[in-house]
């Protein structure tokens, strides 16, 4: 049965992000729930990765964006968000690695990439 695990450091990063961008964070989490349900129902990572809010990243991880977020105050001013996750059928786990915006994208990908390498060794 599929489950979600927060990898080291995720919660702190999320708490910082949500303080500034709650709308984007909510929409990204909603898309994460959709991604997780597709995984649960199909047991197929490739199928889950075909969703339009998914962006392929190195090491088999993917980034989930904020598509569908409410635009309340400033139209068009939503921050492009990336929630980095890694799904593995071996132990049917969806790992939450990190979250950030376009400004921190390069650094976020590098950090999450090393986390995935560690997960691959652990699993």
């Amino acid at each position: 049965m599929w489950g979600i695990e927060q990898y080291t450091g995720f919660e702190n990063q999320y708490k910082k992000f949500v303080k500034k961008h709650e709308n984007e964070a909510s929409a990204t989490l909603s898309n994460l729930q959709t991604y997780f349900e597709v995984l649960k129902e199909t047991n197929n990572v490739q199928m889950a990765n075909q969703q339009p809010f998914i962006h392929p990243e190195p090491e088999g991880m993917v980034a989930i964006d904020q598509r569908g977020a409410k635009i309340e105050k400033k139209p068009g001013k939503l921050k492009a968000t990336r929630l980095y996750v890694y799904a593995t059928v071996v132990n049917q786990t969806l790992y939450l690695l990190g979250i950030g915006d376009k400004d921190s994208q390069k650094q976020d990908i590098e950090t999450c990439r090393s986390k995935v390498k560690r997960i691959k060794k652990e699993v």
């Binding site: 489950g3 979600i4 695990e5 927060q6 990898y7 080291t8 919660e11 999320y14 708490k15 949500v18 709650e22 964070a25 909510s26 929409a27 989490l29 909603s30 898309n31 994460l32 729930q33 959709t34 997780f36 349900e37 597709v38 129902e41 199909t42 199928m47 889950a48 075909q50 969703q51 339009p52 598509r67 569908g68 786990t93 939450l96």
Partner: protein, 185 residues
């Protein structure tokens, strides 16, 4: 080993965030269960948004919007069109508010019996069909027993401790035996 969660809302609830913020975010996720189900069903059919859009004669953007819409904003017409595109039949079920799970199971069981009765009615007068429906009853029974059995087996019930019952006559006998032991000592 880090904690394992069964949903994103569970992850959110575990975080040290202000309660009102957690509620707002959980509500956002819960308000899109129906549209989320559409995405899941489409994926189960191995269909992309583009393919679904082509079948419906819609733009891909319209599909994308529908799949992230709040449930309250989804129209019955959209659901009918979408289920047609996925080759699914849509049915709407109204149940009493706060209905217990056990009562739901009973309703589904009754629904199954009703459908079986429809099959029986349809097969009447046709020997071949009657035989087939009879066999299907066996199949249903076996599957049901096996599925319910599997569900029961997944439970870890601790064996009950045995109860020791001692009546007045045994107590009297025990006292006599103890007295005799003391006398011998």
């Amino acid at each position: 080993m880090s904690k394992r969660y069964g949903s994103v809302v569970d992850v959110l609830q575990s975080m040290e965030l202000p309660a009102d913020q957690k509620k707002r975010q959980a509500d956002y996720i819960k308000a899109r269960q129906l549209s989320r189900l559409l995405t899941v069903m489409r994926s189960q059919k191995n269909m992309s948004q583009k393919q679904a859009a082509e079948k419906l004669g819609w733009s891909q953007g319209r599909i994308s919007k529908l799949e992230t819409k709040e449930d309250r904003a989804v129209s019955v017409g959209d659901l009918l069109d979408y289920s047609n595109a996925l080759d699914l039949e849509m049915s709407i079920v109204f149940l009493p508010r706060g209905m217990k799970i056990v009562d739901r199971i009973k309703i589904y069981a009754l629904e199954m019996v009703k459908l079986l009765q429809r099959l029986v009615k349809l097969s009447k007068g046709d020997d071949g069909m009657e035989q087939a429906v009879h066999r299907f009853h066996d199949e249903c029974l076996n599957n049901l027993i096996s599925l319910v059995g599997d569900s029961q087996k997944s439970m870890c019930i601790k064996p009950r401790k045995e109860l020791t019952v001692i009546g007045p006559s045994q107590v009297g006998q025990m006292i006599e035996e103890e007295d005799a032991d003391l006398a011998h000592a």
